[in-house]
Every structure is written in C-alpha cells, then in structure tokens.
C-alpha cells in the first residue's frame, strides 16, 4: 500500500513563514531533483520557536532543476494566497511541468485553473489594498506621520510595500495588518510583525471632509447597490471611514430622488437676466448662407462655415474652404479634404498635400501664387476604430458643393483650372470623364474657362512599387510643368 493513502508523507517540509518563498524554493529543488513524488510530501509553516528543518535530501551533484521562466513569477504571486494547500499545488505543478511542458498554457487543466484562481485572488486583494488603505495623520511638522490599519485576505503586505513607497515617497507612513507591517521613514522600508487594530490611530480630522465629499458625490436617482458591493464588498467596510454613511444614503435615496423630481422648476434666479444681458446680448441669427451673397473670397469662406447644403457637415469637423490669392491665375481643384485637412481646416496639408507641394516646387510653380480648393468642402469618411477611411463623395454631394466652387471661380476669375482627379473633373465639367485617358488635355468650357485634366496626387501615394511610384511622380511633374507653361501663355 502507498504511504499517501494513509496520509503518511515521507517528507515533512517546514517553512519559516507564510511568505517564505525562498524556503519553498530550496526544499522544492532538493525534493524534485531526488525524484520525490508530490504525494510523499507534507508542507507546514512553523513559528520561529519550533523551528527545525526535517532532513531534506541534498541536491545530487551535477543536476539542475529546469523550470519554465514564467512559472516562478506566477508561483511567487500564488504563494501569497492564504490557502494552506498552495505549497503542495505549486510543487505538484512543478513536478508535472517536467513531463508536460505546456501545462501552464492549458487553461482548462484543473491545476492550471487553480493556480490562475489563486493569482487572481492575490492580484485582486493587492488591488483592493492599493485602493482601501486609509491613512490617518498623527503629529504635526517634523512629527507628522501617517498610519493605516488594513485587513487583507492574503499575505500581501511585503508584495505591495513598494507600491506605497513609490506613491508616498515624501511622507512617513506605516501600514499595519494582522500578519505583517510595513514602515517607511522617508528613506528606508522596514517589514515588521503583525499588529492589532488598536495600534492604529482611531480617527483623523480630514475624515469629516471626506465623508462630506462621499455624501454629495452620490446621485440618489441612480441607486445601484449591487454594483457598489461587487467592487467594495462589505468585509472592507469596517475600515473605511465613509462606509458608515452607506446604509442611510441607500435608505434615503428613493425619497431624495423623488424630492429632486417633485421640486417644481422655479423662476430663474435673479442674476440670470443680468448674466444673459451681459454675456449674450444678442443671440446670433441662424446662418443662412444662401442669402449671404459674399462679394469677396474671405466673405465666402465665412459663409461656407455654416454650409448645410448636403449632409456631410454632420460628421466632419469643419468646412475646408479654398486657399490662395483671390486674384490667382490658376485654380487647382482636388476632390475633398482628408483626415488632416479636416482637423486643420486647410486644403492639401496632409500626405497628398505634401506630395503635391513638392512636385509643384520641382515644376517651379509657386504655391503662394495659386489658389487651391476642393470639389467637396467637407470630409466624407467611414470611421474604423481610431481611423477614418476616406469615402468618395457621390454625384449629389459634388453637385451640392458646386454652389461654392462656382462662386469661387466667379470671384477669382482665373485663366486656367486644373482638375486633380475624376471628382474635380466631374465638378468642373458637369459630367464624368475618363481621367487617365484624357490626362494632359485642356477642355474648354462653354463659359470659356480652360480646364486642364490630370490625376489626383493621392494616386501617387497609393503606389507601393518604388520604380512605378517614381515614374508616376515624373508624369505628374510633367503635367505640372505643362500647367506652368499654360499659365505663362
């Protein structure tokens, strides 16, 4: 018969304390390397007085215990759990890992699940400690110290002391718990023995302020007691100064909410009329850009800010109007603003705009002397997570925005228009034309305006193959040189 069935373990390991991970590690190394089976070990924590290690086997020469890297870190966390079975569980897992190296990745294995549950409990307890420790101040000036009493579920004081050091470096503090205490004098951290609640100060003057805050930040119309208790279980309440208010707040919530609602609206406060007169002397009339017959580009730009001619304004940030001298000889018309243009409120400032600028520069066209605008003045897009995917304006939107394009042309009276891409061509010519086929051509409109056809510079951006990209850039550069010649003519 096997000894385990009588619960007669062959080895009894005595650990110095509940958090003696080093002791567990040492014992584990000796036992595992001597092929001692998990069921042949019993684990105990002993107080200092009865210390005395049972004889454990020595590590056989030339052997080494190999453990997956993350097991030790995870074991160290689970080790803080208060479950007395943790020492045996961790040894068993280590034992199994020798033949099942993927054990920790198998989330459905009972041992892995138990380990995970322990880690989770320790992490949650640590998190609650970070949250629910309440310091009370004693002394003033050089004597000023902050002392807290806390009752964690697990053995986590040592593990969390550094957190409080990082957070309260410039403060002298002590955290007392039944199992251990941590003390920071501003320079050194000391871990000491456990304490009693009576060792901590009973109260602090600031608690009254804190309770005032707690009472008033609560909205009685939104009572959700379960949600509160899920995150702040009652076991923590006895050490939270604000918790004693909770029962009365809950009991009075319904009445308070009803009172809020029942209180009839009163006539406006006396100062209201004065405030209104001073700060809002006259409400702005709702803009109706149609009536606004602007006689200059800046007036037109102003009027376009409130454009509601198509629904695109709803999702865009702002109207992106044309830019350039109002006596420009040539107007470049793009498709629509993109992500960056929408934010900046200026045309051609994004990636395509940069390409455009550099090619204009190479062609010797001074951007300061030309007028640049878009066929559609609001950014049309589909949101995808944190990105906005450009979406092509439809014929109706192009048509709606011609109202602005026509006025820009009427005021500037350029000699030449450059249609950058199909949407611009559609806007300028009123019909769809095959841009790649007609590229480089000049079409004369009925009103005599010459329209030069080319691609949109964003086309170059979309080419990935470097040689092809370079070739396309050259073609566009040739187009811009032709534009320059046409301007001079």
């Amino acid at each position: 018969m096997r000894p385990a069935e009588f619960n007669l373990a062959r080895y009894s390991v005595r650990l110095d304390s509940e958090t003696d991970f080093a002791g567990w590690r040492d014992a584990t190394r000796r036992l595992a390397l001597n092929e001692v089976r998990p069921e042949d070990i019993s684990w105990h924590v002993v107080s200092n007085s009865e210390q005395g290690q049972t004889d454990l086997p020595t590590v056989p020469a030339g052997t080494q215990l190999v453990v997956p890297r993350d097991f030790i870190a995870r074991a160290e966390t689970a080790f803080c759990h208060s479950d007395p079975g943790r020492f045996a569980l961790l040894y068993r897992m280590l034992w199994r890992l020798r033949t099942e190296p993927k054990l920790l990745s198998i989330a459905s294995d009972p041992d892995t699940r138990r380990l995970e549950a322990m880690e989770k409990a320790v992490r949650r307890d640590s998190h609650k400690m970070h949250a629910f420790v309440r310091f009370r101040k004693i002394g003033d000036g050089d004597e000023e110290r902050y002392v807290a009493w806390f009752e964690p579920d697990h053995f986590i004081v040592e593990r969390n002391a550094d957190f409080f050091v990082r957070r309260f470096t410039g403060m002298r503090w002590t955290i007392l718990t039944p199992h251990a205490s941590a003390d920071w004098d501003g320079k050194r951290l000391a871990i000491g023995p456990g304490a009693a609640k009576a060792d901590a100060p009973p109260q602090d003057d600031t608690e009254a302020l804190w309770r005032t805050y707690f009472e008033n930040i609560f909205n009685p119309a939104r009572l959700k007691v379960k949600a509160m208790q899920k995150e702040m279980p009652k076991k923590y309440w006895r050490n939270l100064p604000e918790a004693s208010l909770i029962p009365d707040l809950i009991a009075g919530a319904d009445k308070a909410a009803k009172e809020m609602i029942a209180r009839m609206p009163t006539t406006p406060a006396p100062h209201h009329a004065k405030v209104q007169a001073k700060h809002w002397p006259k409400r702005e009339p709702t803009q109706t850009p149609e009536d606004d017959d602007a006689s200059s580009i800046s007036g037109l730009r102003e009027a376009a800010k409130g454009c509601r001619r198509c629904p695109l304004w709803r999702d865009a940030t702002q109207t992106v109007f044309g830019e350039g001298p109002d006596k420009a000889k040539v107007i470049f018309v793009g498709e629509q603003p993109g992500d960056q243009e929408d934010l900046a409120g200026k045309p051609f400032v994004g990636p395509a705009g940069k390409v455009f600028d550099s090619i204009l520069d190479d062609a010797g066209v001074d951007r300061q002397k030309v007028y640049v605008t878009n066929a559609v003045k609001h950014f049309k897009f589909e949101p995808r997570g944190k990105r906005r995917i450009h979406s092509k304006p439809n014929a109706g939107e192009v048509q709606a925005c011609r109202w602005w394009i026509d006025r820009e042309f009427a005021l500037i009276k350029p000699e030449l228009a450059v249609a950058l891409g199909a949407t611009a061509a559609l806007s300028l010519l009123g019909k769809a034309i095959p841009v790649t086929k007609m590229r480089g051509q000049v079409i004369e409109r009925e009103d005599g305006l010459r329209v030069f056809i080319t691609i949109h510079p964003s086309f170059i951006l979309r080419i990935h193959e470097p040689a092809e990209k370079e070739a396309e850039r050259d073609r566009f550069l040739a187009d811009m040189r032709q534009v320059k010649r046409l301007m001079a003519a």
Partner: protein, 411 residues
C-alpha cells in the same frame, strides 16, 4: 460667499459635479514620486478608492472650481437660471484638499471642472493654475484630469496639457441640433474644433523632438468626452454613430454616456423621470463592441427595427440572434475575429482558447471551465464532442437564453 467654510463649499461643489460620468484614472503614462521625493504615482491602471451607492467608482476628487456659470444649458444644474446654492473655491483650497485627500489614500488625483465665470479664459486660467501648483509646488505626481473649456485660448490649453494627464471636452448631446436646443449658448462647431486641436497637439507632441529624441509630455492619458443620453430623442444608433465619429476623428480614449438624471430645480423642457440606467449600460456594452471586439458601428444595430439597443439582452447576444447564419463557430478552428463574435466569450477568454487549443482539442466542458457560463454559449459553438444541431436556428432560442429579467422599475 467667500465666508463659506470649506466643508460647505465642498458639499456644494461636489454635488454640482456628480452628474459628470467620467471617472477613469487609467491609461496615463507611468510616473511616481521616487525621484522627486514628492507625493503621488500613476501606474497605468487606475484605482477606484471607493464606491458610492450609485455603483459608480470614486477614483478622483471630482469637484467644480465654481458652480457660477454664464451658460444656461437646460440639462445642467449649474445653468445660470438655476436657483441652486452657489460657491467658489479658491485655488489654494483645491490644492490643499487634493493633497490632504491624496495623502490619506482616499483618491487617485483630481478631476477639476468648472462653471464658466466672467470669461472662458479666466476660468480655464484658474484651472490650469491649480494643476500647475499641484505639479510644481506640491511635487504631486498623481492623476489630474481637467475639463477644458472649448472657447478658451490655445495657449491655456497647451499649458493644461503640460500638467494634466487627461483633458476632456464634453460634446454634451449626440446631435448638433440637440446642443443648439438645450445649450443655446454653446457652439457644436467650437466643440469639434477644440477636439480637433487637442488631437493635433497630442500627435505633434508625440513626435520625438530632433534635439532630444524624447517625447514631450502632453496629456498622456489622452482626451475623452461625455454625452447625455435621454435628454433628447436621439436613438441608440444615432448615439453610437456619434461615438464612432468621435473615436475616429479625434482619437478619444473614452466616450462617456451619462443617463440624463433629474436635477433639482430642473428646467421644464426636460423629461422628469429616473435616469435610463439600463440604456446607459447597454450603450457602454455596445461601445466596447466597437472598441475591443471589431464591430463596426452600423452593424451593431443592423436589422433592428427601431435603432434601439435591446434592454433585456446584451448587444452582442442580440446581434448573434439576428445573425444566426454566422453560427455555430468552431471553438477549435475559428479565427480570433469569429470567436470574439460569440456571445459570452470575452477578449480574455478568447485569448485563452487560442492558447489552449494549440495543445489540445477543446470540449464544451473545457470551454465551460474558462468562461463564466456556457448557457449563453452552447447554441453558438461547436466543440469536440458538441454540436448545437438545430438549436442555433430554433425559434424560441432567445427565450431559452434570456433569464426573465426586468428593466429597473420606474417608480
């Protein structure tokens, strides 16, 4: 007025702040007080130091600098026509309160908002001064969230970003029409522009500078916003559309939904009823689907008749019931995207499934061991030894999964 004791001011100015839903103190850059010898740390994950009986966490000292306000937004307790008691903190008082609370570990930091007095710049200037003093004079490394006033100057916003972990600007309501109607002096255009400028600033500062290769600190916790739900008639689909636009356009970290809550001395233009808390909860769930589960906004409510989220079941289950053709999903073969669409499987469980199945084929019981409950799951998955058969397409499936549960009773 200035004769009010601090405790009374605190009562008035925390009461005035309780209708703001934002509370998080997470997602900022890590910092602590070891080098400065001061007080405070942020370690990435926020800490909730207490919970109010309304179930909301208390992480920050959330107060108003003042509840005097020149605006008259009808949903707001602090509007200029309201007869609420008014108070105003001094800069000193806010700094002292924050430090006193922080030293006792009551809070993670400060969330400072304010009614607008005299001018937006003056109010914003005082808020920035509070943050500056906390950072530079008190050597405070805890969390600071400032509610930016959209009309304030660019220089002040830049300073605010220097000291604060997070900046936020409230869009107030899901539609521009709603803002125009209920907050007549606020301009939706200005709010958008302010958010756009914040995003630009954050991106600009995130670029390493040429000289130092180091990034400048500017609101490392990003920007967030809040909108009020239920004060106007916008549908959930409309609300989620606005959120998707805000996430995409301004890279917000969070959009907070705040169920419109009755306020004392309320304006007669608003519904007087208990706040639609379940609706708010479902909106947050739908928001998660967009941010962490790969759902696009339009598909969350595609196929629903009224554009409203189902109050009795969560939005993912509702979506799955409307899209049964995409199920069952094979636990042992499906890709991450498909697994994330299964009702009852969260991001963490999906990660565990992907890891575990590399080593062994998973049975229904195996899945059951790593997630909370398989009741919701069974009709939607295939596992080793388990196939739902006709269950997936069963007409009464919804009734089988949904425990009879009621919406929180209106009183």
């Amino acid at each position: 007025m200035s004769a009010l004791p601090v405790r009374e001011k605190l009562a008035i100015l925390s009461d005035a702040a309780k209708y703001d839903a934002s509370c998080a103190s997470s997602g900022s850059a890590k910092k602590d007080s070891l080098t400065s010898g001061g007080i405070g740390s942020t370690e990435g994950m926020g800490i909730c130091h207490s919970y109010a009986p309304d179930g909301r966490c208390i992480s920050l000292l959330k107060i108003l600098l003042t509840n005097f306000c020149i605006y008259d937004c009808s949903y707001c307790i602090n509007r200029s026509s309201s007869n609420v008691r008014r108070a105003r903190f001094s800069i000193d008082e806010v700094v002292t309160l924050t430090m006193d609370f922080y030293r006792r570990n009551y809070i993670e930091g400060l969330f400072l908002s304010s009614g607008v007095i005299r001018s937006p710049d003056e109010t914003m200037g005082e808020m920035v001064e509070v943050a500056r003093r906390l950072r530079l004079e008190e050597k405070f490394s805890g969390y600071i969230h400032l509610k930016t006033i959209p009309e304030s100057s660019a220089e002040l916003v830049e300073k605010a970003g220097l000291y604060a972990d997070r900046l936020s600007i409230n869009v107030e309501l899901p539609t521009d029409e709603g803002v125009k109607r209920l907050a007549p002096e606020k301009k939706p255009e200005t709010i958008r522009l302010s958010m756009a400028k914040l995003r630009q600033k954050m991106e600009e500062k995130a670029e390493p500078t040429l000289r130092t290769k180091k990034r400048e600190r500017f609101a490392p916790g990003g920007q967030s916003t809040q909108m009020i739900v239920g004060a106007d008639k916008t549908s959930d689909d409309g609300i989620l559309h606005t959120s998707a636009r805000l996430y995409g356009s301004y890279h917000l970290r969070r959009v907070y939904y705040s169920a419109f809550s009755p306020i004392p001395d309320s304006s007669s233009s608003l519904p007087l009823q208990k706040p639609p808390l379940m609706r708010e909860h479902r909106l947050y769930q739908a928001d998660w689907l967009m941010r962490f589960y790969g759902f696009s906004q339009p598909e969350i409510l595609a196929g629903s008749s009224d554009g409203m989220l189902d109050l009795t079941i969560d939005p993912k289950l509702a979506w799955a019931l409307r899209n049964r053709g995409r199920f069952p999903v094979d636990i042992n073969r499906a890709d991450r995207e498909a697994l994330l669409r299964v009702p009852g499987l969260g991001t963490k469980v999906v990660a565990k499934i992907l890891e575990t199945r590399r080593h062994r084929r998973m049975r229904l019981e195996d899945v059951g061991r790593i997630c909370q409950s398989i009741a919701k799951l069974r009709p939607f998955i295939i596992a080793e030894g388990w196939s739902p058969g006709a269950l997936t397409d069963k007409l009464g499936l919804r009734g089988k999964i949904v425990q009879p549960c009621e919406q929180l009773a209106l009183f």
